[in-house]
Amino acid sequence: MTDGTKPSAPAVEARDISLRRGGRTIVAGVTFAVNPGDLYLLHGPNGSGKTTLLRALAGFSRPACGSLKRAVGRTILLGYADAVKAAFTAKENIDFWGALYGAAPATVERAISQLRIFPFLNQRTGTLSSGQRRRLALCRVVISRRPIWLLDEPTAGMDAASVATAVDLIAGHCRSGGSAVVATHEALPFAGARTITLADAA
């Protein structure tokens, strides 16, 4: 999982960054580093800039000020949208991701079993429940084999069993040298997670 990363250098490091959207500064003064093994929970009310921050960490937008260092091609973002094609079966979606990320069949197999995709592997994803689709979306994160996971509400719409699966997966990833930043409204049972809380300055 940590192929090629120097253990000393943080793969993502934010120093006092501010993020703007639509002409307004949404978040200011964010400083933290993501080192291998780190797990951050990102909390904050709606509109406090969690998604904006995750997207900046993923490289989609540049901070208005401050410095953001990130290793190219090492982060993987799971947005609030599942990026799942409804006309495809779960397997077809997975096969496309495998080709896109150049993943070995073994990686794909493992992702399928870790996220318990088998029961609906050949079902069109348009007919899946939102929790099942979310698990499928997480499957892509595993298939990408990228070390730094940036997850925006990964457990949205999941039942208790699925939440447990997702939590195990993320915790396991961080134990084996990966890292994750998880934006969430839920109280997810992670041991030893650090938190980033976004709140109004006033």
């Binding site: 997207r55 993923a58 490289g59 989609f60 937008s61 190219v72 091609g73 982060t75 993987i76 973002l77 947005g79 609030y80 949208a81 599942d82 990026a83 799942v84 094609k85 409804a86 006309a87 495809f88 077809e92 496309f96 991701w97 080709a99 896109l100 990320y101 150049g102 892509r140 990408s144």
Partner: protein, 222 residues
């Protein structure tokens, strides 16, 4: 390259899975021809003389109508983020999408042209030049369509605006396309050079449009 191929294959599969898109374009093409014929009247000679121009016009319009679908679905379901992140180059994504658009949306239009030309009474010698001129020039339409569709993601009233933005840029393709079709039909020595001009135009778009579309996409997903 493998990633580009994967995106291309996925788009083709999606186009045929969703169905309807290409068929609708072909029906639109046929209806335009029908309306034109009704408007001109059943005079065989007049219809035959304007067969190549009207088919070119109808094909261009049908192509423009198909532009808005190129990125819309990927943008809405989050796939565009995935493509951007996985490839690190939206320009290459744009090339893949243009290629897939051409095969799934414009190739059917080109294939539908000869039967429609029969209805208009196009002379036998004119079929091959017409189809060839479309085949050489339409990739430029797909490439422009990719830019239009990339721009459209953050627009209100996107579809009419896309027509306004793209039509002026298509004028050279239409001018030289119809000229090539006519030159070929008349066995004129200009046929070859005109096809070369069309190919040059397409090549220019192959370089410029993915760059522009990639930049537009980056701003639209930031």
């Amino acid at each position: 390259m493998k990633k580009m191929l994967a995106i291309f294959e996925r788009d083709i599969a999606l186009a045929f899975r969703a169905g309807g898109g290409a068929i609708n374009s072909v029906v639109f093409l046929a209806l335009t021809v029908l309306i034109f014929a009704l408007a001109v009247g059943p005079d065989r000679a007049r219809l035959a003389a304007s067969a190549a121009p009207i088919l070119w016009t109808a094909a261009t319009l049908a192509a423009m109508l198909s532009f808005d679908s190129i990125f819309q679905a990927d943008f809405e379901d989050g796939s565009l983020d995935v493509l951007a992140e996985a490839t690190e180059s939206l320009g290459f994504v744009a090339v893949s999408k243009a290629a897939a658009h051409w095969v799934s949306a414009l190739l059917p239009l080109i294939l539908a042209t000869p039967p429609l030309a029969v209805l208009l009474g196009l002379p036998a010698a004119a079929y091959f030049p017409l189809v060839i001129s479309l085949a050489v020039a339409t990739p430029a339409l797909s490439l422009l369509g990719v830019l239009a569709s990339a721009l459209a993601l953050s627009l209100r009233r996107a579809s009419i605006l896309m027509t306004i933005l793209t039509a002026p840029l298509l004028t050279p393709a239409v001018i030289f396309g119809v000229a090539a079709a006519n030159a070929g039909a008349e066995n004129s020595p200009l046929f070859g050079p005109l096809l070369m001009l069309l190919a040059a135009f397409t090549l220019l778009f192959l370089i410029a449009m993915p760059l522009a579309a990639g930049a537009a996409l980056r701003f639209n997903i930031d």
